[in-house]
């Protein structure tokens, strides 16, 4: 392998953090939109999302390939085998998971906090502000859930990224390629890097995030 591990790692972080950001923002928007609907419909929609959490990433990869291959509906965009295609695929991979995560926590928290705050005689507006403040750590970890899901998926990156050295090779595709040519030792080193990066990033961000949030009170 001619490409340095550092380059692959940076590309991995870049691609998956953007995919996670898009997934995070859109599930925030979805949750906000659905929160005004009646609870019955929201449960049905969320059920669909919950079911989608388990869809194999290879299936999503194939779907994105079908969209972007030269004869496909979006083939003219020439996105196949670019990092952008991986970002789109990983966004689809991360979306159901981050949506479900947010949804569950939001509803659980909303009801308890509203009841508590209103019973203590707070105005409705202040209750909402308090809710937002209490929700912040959850939003933070929702982002990290989607980030690590995007970082660790292989199917999409392999099919629509192709693992082209120096362009779309991310950690997971590098691991898969090294495994398939029998270079197990190198593959496991890459795997160790992948795991430690995810852990390090998430733990530091969490500690930092909580420090900042603690100061709020």
């Amino acid at each position: 392998m001619t490409e340095s591990i550092l380059t692959v790692t940076i590309r991995s972080i870049y691609v998956s953090s953007i995919a996670a950001l898009i997934a995070f923002l859109s599930s925030l928007a979805l949750n906000a939109a659905f929160s005004r609907m009646s609870r019955k419909y929201v449960e049905v929609i969320s059920g669909v999302f919950e079911a989608l959490v388990g869809v194999p990433t290879t299936v999503i990869g194939l779907l994105v390939y079908m969209l972007f291959f030269p004869g496909g509906p979006l083939g003219t965009l020439k996105l196949l085998y670019t990092p952008h295609a991986i970002i789109i695929g990983e966004f689809l991979v991360a979306l159901p998971m981050v949506y479900t995560y947010m949804f569950r926590h939001y509803y659980a928290m909303r009801d308890t906090i509203r009841e508590l705050v209103l019973s203590l005689g707070c105005p409705e507006k202040k209750a909402f502000k308090l809710l937002l403040r209490e929700l912040t750590p959850i939003l933070l970890s929702a982002y990290f859930v989607s980030f690590s899901r995007a970082m660790g998926e292989l199917g999409v990156a392999l099919i629509v990224g192709g693992g082209i050295e120096g362009y779309t090779n991310v950690l997971t595709t590098a691991i898969a390629l090294q495994t398939s040519i029998g270079n197990y030792e190198y593959a496991i080193q890459l795997g160790a890097i992948l795991v430690s990066i995810t852990i390090m990033l998430i733990v530091t961000m969490k500690i930092l995030g909580e420090r900042v949030l603690w100061r709020l009170d």
């Binding site: 001619t2 380059t7 940076i10 590309r11 972080i13 870049y14 953090s17 953007i18 950001l21 390939y65 291959f69 030269p70 004869g71 083939g75 196949l80 085998y81 990092p83 403040r133 192709g162 693992g163 082209i164 050295e165 120096g166 362009y167 390629l177 495994t179 398939s180 040519i181 029998g182 270079n183 197990y184 900042v212 100061r215 709020l216």
Partner: protein
């Protein structure tokens, strides 16, 4: 107020991160402005490292600064990508499958540029006595018999790669169908993984000599030895293809493809014979023999 400041900091951090990221991607692929050709290849050639050598020598000799984006896949997938126009140039070794795509008019063969052979490898103890078989077909018959008796196992790629297709052809020639037998294990993995599995399970398998020698030299195979080689049934021909789909129908791709073809058949041949002796043979001087072998292979079902 604090919330505003914090969110501002977060947003700023994001924007800087984004800019660094974009800059990095552009930097690491500065050839975005330069022309690049997508190439799909079988994993065996990728693993030998021969393509990297050929491409860099090609750029040196011709003075072209072509960038080749290489996707290492099995021959079946590599051909599919060619037929889709997802990649424009392909290096594969599955004659029967190639013929199918050629008759569909989706790909065009530019060159048969190298060949080596498949070998049957198995445990040192050789319970099926493959090493004394007269040819590859009889060797497969012996493995089948030993398998039925519970003495041997066979690991199959099962992924429509060139090696897998050759294996199926051999079973057909032997008039046997191992499908669904308990001793016949289909893995769907790459060649190296199959060799490692076969090594761990004391099983037989069919492999191209390049991948086997590479792993053998790295000391990854403890118990697997070459049991049967057979120049008639086990020749392995590598060909270069150009996709005839619209996305590849631009002058630059064609120019690069035909230049590369000319290079492969002239100077590339010398590079292969010098640097990959024993792993890969150039076709130079034996074009007829290789072509005949290729034609014979397309006719096998």
């Amino acid at each position: 107020m604090r919330i505003v400041i914090i969110s501002l900091v977060v947003v700023l951090a994001w924007i800087t991160g984004f800019i660094i990221g974009v800059y990095h991607v552009e930097l690491s692929h500065s050839s975005l402005t330069q022309y690049s050709v997508k190439v799909s290849t079988t994993t065996s050639l990728y693993q030998l490292g021969v393509l990297d050598d050929l491409f860099s020598d090609f750029n040196n000799v011709t003075g072209l600064n072509a960038k080749f984006d290489v996707l290492a896949k099995g021959s079946g997938e590599a051909l599919r990508l060619l037929a889709d126009g997802s990649t424009c140039i392909g290096f594969v070794h599955a004659p029967a499958l190639e013929q199918e795509f050629i008759t569909q008019g989706k790909i065009e063969r530019l060159a048969l540029f190298a060949y080596n052979e498949f070998i049957i490898v198995g445990p040192r103890s050789d319970p099926a006595n493959v090493s004394s078989a007269v040819n590859a077909v009889e060797a497969f018959k012996r493995i089948y018999m030993a398998g039925e008796l519970g003495l041997a196992r066979f690991i199959s790629r099962g992924d429509m790669s060139g090696t897998n297709i050759r294996e199926i052809q051999l079973w057909n020639l032997a008039g046997l169908n191992p499908e669904g037998k308990s001793w016949y294990l289909k893995t769907g993995q790459g060649m190296s993984q199959v060799l490692i599995i076969a090594d761990n399970l004391d099983a037989y398998t069919l492999t191209d000599i390049g991948t086997y020698m590479k792993l053998e030299n790295q000391g990854k195979l403890r118990n697997l030895v070459t049991l049967k080689s057979d120049p008639t049934y086990l020749i392995n021909v590598y060909s270069m293809y150009l996709s005839k789909t619209t996305p590849c129908d631009d002058p630059y791709t064609w120019y690069i493809a035909f230049k590369l073809r000319d290079y492969l058949l002239s100077r590339g041949q010398d590079l292969i014979s010098i640097k990959y002796m024993g792993l890969l043979n150039p076709v130079k001087g034996r074009e007829d023999m290789v072509l005949q072998a290729w034609l014979a292979l397309t006719k096998l079902s």
